[in-house]
């Protein structure tokens, strides 16, 4: 009885001891960060600036695309179509061309993105032979944009045609009622905010941890830490705590900004939004840890985690380009990008506002990535540096 009590006390004292040691390590890491004011300012300010810039500026929406009109008929129908193109927010008619030679000219100067060309006797053909043509000549140097331009223009022309059909009371009309779910104003920010969240959290976390550890190696202070009685796992944990805290601050500022400034809704549960973000931050931190076990110098660590990860995250996470349009191989590769799963989950939670049962898969994948990365890095983490 006596013995067991004693044993318990000892055990407790040991735990308290370890906790104390651990906390003093955490404190040390916080000092490291707070002492470097400039880096801290960047770390906390960067997400704010970026989310504002990207929220407003990064969009693929068509807005006021400059087009030119080449109209050989100049009749009531062509007038009305041009008016409707002009009235839409997508297009601005900036030039009226008089000869077909001008078409080449305006494209080469890069002044307009699309030319709308009507043939002769447009209205006449339309009403009598029922065969009137419009040519949409688009500058396809940017294929994405040109497809969208011709798509939207065709849409406007088709709705004009349907208007005519209604006027003429043509039979067999199908009238579609279109419902835009979740984002009725088609705002680009709804799509990009989750992407930017993934990008910023991923890169900042990975960079911070990888540099912090490799730096100690390079400076030689890692030897000192490893020689202390505390276990290596606590050293690493102590490094992760401050960066985790910083990332949570960043996450909060991103969410507040996107809600109040960009007016992106938070339709789903805030609790689960926070939960999945924490998991994602943990994945990013452990990825940084993993990089630090490969890299020997700060330059290498930074170049891998800052420069090396930037493009894959931007391009393969579905942030800008839809993953389902990629070739099979790339779709497969995109599965190993953690940001892909996070962005997917955030879109569902934040904008679609669905329940947690729809993001379980994303969550499970992120969790297993975390476990995998942390196990490998701890195994590779060398207690002896030489």
């Amino acid at each position: 009885m006596k013995f067991s009590n004693n044993w318990h006390e000892k055990q407790n004292a040991l735990i308290i001891d370890i906790m104390k040691q651990f906390l003093s390590f955490v404190k040390k890491e916080f000092y490291h960060i707070f002492r470097d004011k400039r880096t801290m300012l960047i770390l906390l300010g960067m997400p704010i600036v970026q989310i504002i810039i990207f929220g407003f500026a990064i969009t693929t929406e068509l807005k006021n695309t400059e087009i030119a009109v080449f109209d050989l008929s100049k009749d009531i129908s062509t007038q009305r179509i041009i008016e409707q193109l002009e009235a839409s927010e997508y297009f601005t008619v900036s030039q009226v061309l008089n000869s077909s030679d001008d078409i080449e000219q305006v494209f080469r100067q890069g002044k307009v993105n699309m030319v709308v060309a009507f043939g002769e006797n447009f209205n006449n053909n339309l009403l009598h032979t029922g065969e009137a043509s419009i040519q949409l000549i688009a500058d396809a140097t940017d294929p994405n944009q040109s497809l969208m331009q011709t798509g939207y223009a065709t849409n406007i022309i088709t709705s004009y045609q349907q208007e005519l059909m209604r006027e003429h009371n043509v039979p067999f009309r199908i009238v579609p009622e279109v419902k835009m779910l979740y984002n009725p104003q088609l705002k680009g920010a709804y799509n990009f905010v989750p992407g930017v969240m993934g990008l910023i959290l991923m890169l900042i976390c990975a960079m911070m941890t990888s540099i912090a550890i490799v730096r100690e190696k390079e400076m030689g202070t890692m030897e000192v830490l490893l020689a202390s009685p505390i276990k290596p796992i606590y050293i690493i944990l102590a490094k992760a705590v401050p960066y985790f805290t910083l990332s949570v601050v960043n996450l909060t500022s991103i969410l507040l900004l996107s809600y109040f400034v960009l007016k992106v809704p938070v339709a789903g549960s805030l609790f689960w939004l926070a939960a999945i973000s924490f998991i994602f931050i943990a994945v990013a931190l452990s990825l940084g840890l993993f990089v630090s076990t490969i890299a020997n110098t700060q330059v290498t660590a930074m170049l891998i985690s800052g420069m090396g990860f930037m493009m894959p995250v931007m391009l393969l996470s579905g942030m800008i380009y839809p993953i389902e349009s990629m070739p099979e191989v790339l779709q497969w590769i995109s599965n190993i990008i953690p940001a892909k799963w996070y962005i997917d989950a955030i879109k569902k939670l934040m904008i679609q506002g669905v329940g947690v049962e729809f993001i379980l898969k994303d969550m499970a994948i992120l969790l297993s990535m975390f476990i995998l990365l942390i196990t490998i890095s701890l195994k590779k983490f060398k207690v002896r540096l030489v």
Partner: protein, 370 residues
């Protein structure tokens, strides 16, 4: 004097076990993978169908929609609510709901309703998929019309034939669009980040003090730092040209010489910018984060991924100060449209302005005394 300084820089780069591999490996990886990813074409839209009518016509409509090539039938639901569920779980992107009495209404009253609901979290995808569906519907109704009254009434129908034509890139090949821009990104990353870390790493190592006590003047010092990145930049660019030509079969319509000329100027812009940041930083960490901050903004606001014309006015003004924008324009114009030097004078002056600005700044901000 400068010869030895340059020799020193090269030795420092080559001695690092990682840098030479990065300089060769990164362009190869990026050129092999990235051009395939940059595709915004909306394909394989996942379609969920709710057919409340189950008539000959409704079934024909479903068949027409699924065989159109745009849509990929992933779900058939019994009610609109159930179909909505499949959008929530990501199983479908768009729902086509056919009302009861679709066929009856179409034949008797001449007008029938259907409902299209699209997931518009991605606004472009949502609106394009609903407009594809609209086109299929109007196609379908004109099919039916033709069956009921062949020729006779056909003449009175106002039908507009829209013919799109895509200039400069008739096959709408995204790789043609991305490859030249990727070269710009690679140049920016490699010849931007490396100089940004350069001077500050000498500061952290303490070797900068040795430079400071030599009679080397500031101009020579900065020049010796710039030249190796020039060489690196041209190496990277040449690797890229090779990949573009042999892997993607993309050759510039314009002259390679123009591209090399502009690249030479552009490398000086980013390297100069990197050196400025390096001069102001105390640790590599600072330099890295500052550089990262700017590069990310510069890349995303350059018109590389998303068009500048879609940006709001204030953002368009910001892009005037973005050197990447000008160089991407040059690359795309020379590669795709075959523009010649005379078409590119604006870009030339803009880039030269940046060169003078950043490199003067780099020379001034380098201080030999603490």
């Amino acid at each position: 004097m400068i010869k030895f300084l340059i020799e020193k820089e090269f030795k420092q780069i080559m001695r690092n076990s990682f840098l030479p591999r990065l300089i060769i490996g990164m362009p190869i990886m990026m050129m092999l993978i990235m051009p395939w990813a940059a595709n915004q074409e909306i394909k394989n839209i996942k379609l969920s169908i709710v057919d409340n009518d189950h008539s000959t016509y409704s079934e024909r409509l479903v068949r027409k929609a699924t065989s159109s090539g745009y849509f990929h039938l992933t779900d058939v639901s019994l009610s609109g609510d159930k179909a909505l569920h499949s959008i929530e779980s990501g199983k479908a992107d768009v729902i086509l709901e056919i009302q009861t009495d679709f066929e009856k209404n179409l034949v008797k009253t001449g007008v029938a309703n259907v409902m299209i609901s699209a997931n518009t979290v991605n606004g472009v995808k949502g609106s394009l998929s609903s407009s594809y569906m609209g086109a299929i519907l109007s196609d379908f109704s004109s099919d039916i019309r033709e069956e009921w009254s062949p020729k006779r009434e056909g003449a009175a129908l106002p039908l507009i034939n829209v013919v799109p034509q895509y200039k400069f890139n008739p096959n709408l090949d995204y790789k043609v669009f991305m490859v030249p821009a990727l070269m710009v990104i690679l140049l920016t990353l490699l010849t931007g980040f490396l100089p940004a870390l350069n001077i500050v790493s000498e500061k952290e190592m303490g070797t900068i003090e040795q430079m400071n006590v030599t009679p080397v003047n500031k101009f020579t010092f900065i020049l010796a730092k710039l030249i190796p990145y020039w060489v690196i930049g041209f190496t990277v660019l040449t690797i890229c040209f090779g990949f573009a030509a042999f892997v993607y079969n993309i050759l510039p319509v314009g002259s390679l010489l123009t591209i090399y000329l502009f690249s030479g100027i552009y490398i000086l812009v980013v390297s100069g910018f990197g050196l400025v940041i390096s001069n102001y930083s105390n640790t590599m960490q600072q330099a890295m984060f500052v550089m990262f901050f700017f590069i990310m903004i510069l890349i995303l606001m350059s018109g590389l991924f998303t068009p500048i014309s879609s940006m709001p006015e204030w953002a368009k003004i910001v892009t005037i100060f973005n050197p990447l924008k000008y160089f991407i324009q040059v690359m795309r114009m020379v590669y795709l449209k075959g523009s010649v030097f005379m078409d590119l004078t604006t870009q030339m002056f803009a880039l030269l302005g940046f060169v003078v600005f950043f490199n003067t700044w780099a020379i001034i901000s380098y201080k030999k005394t603490n």
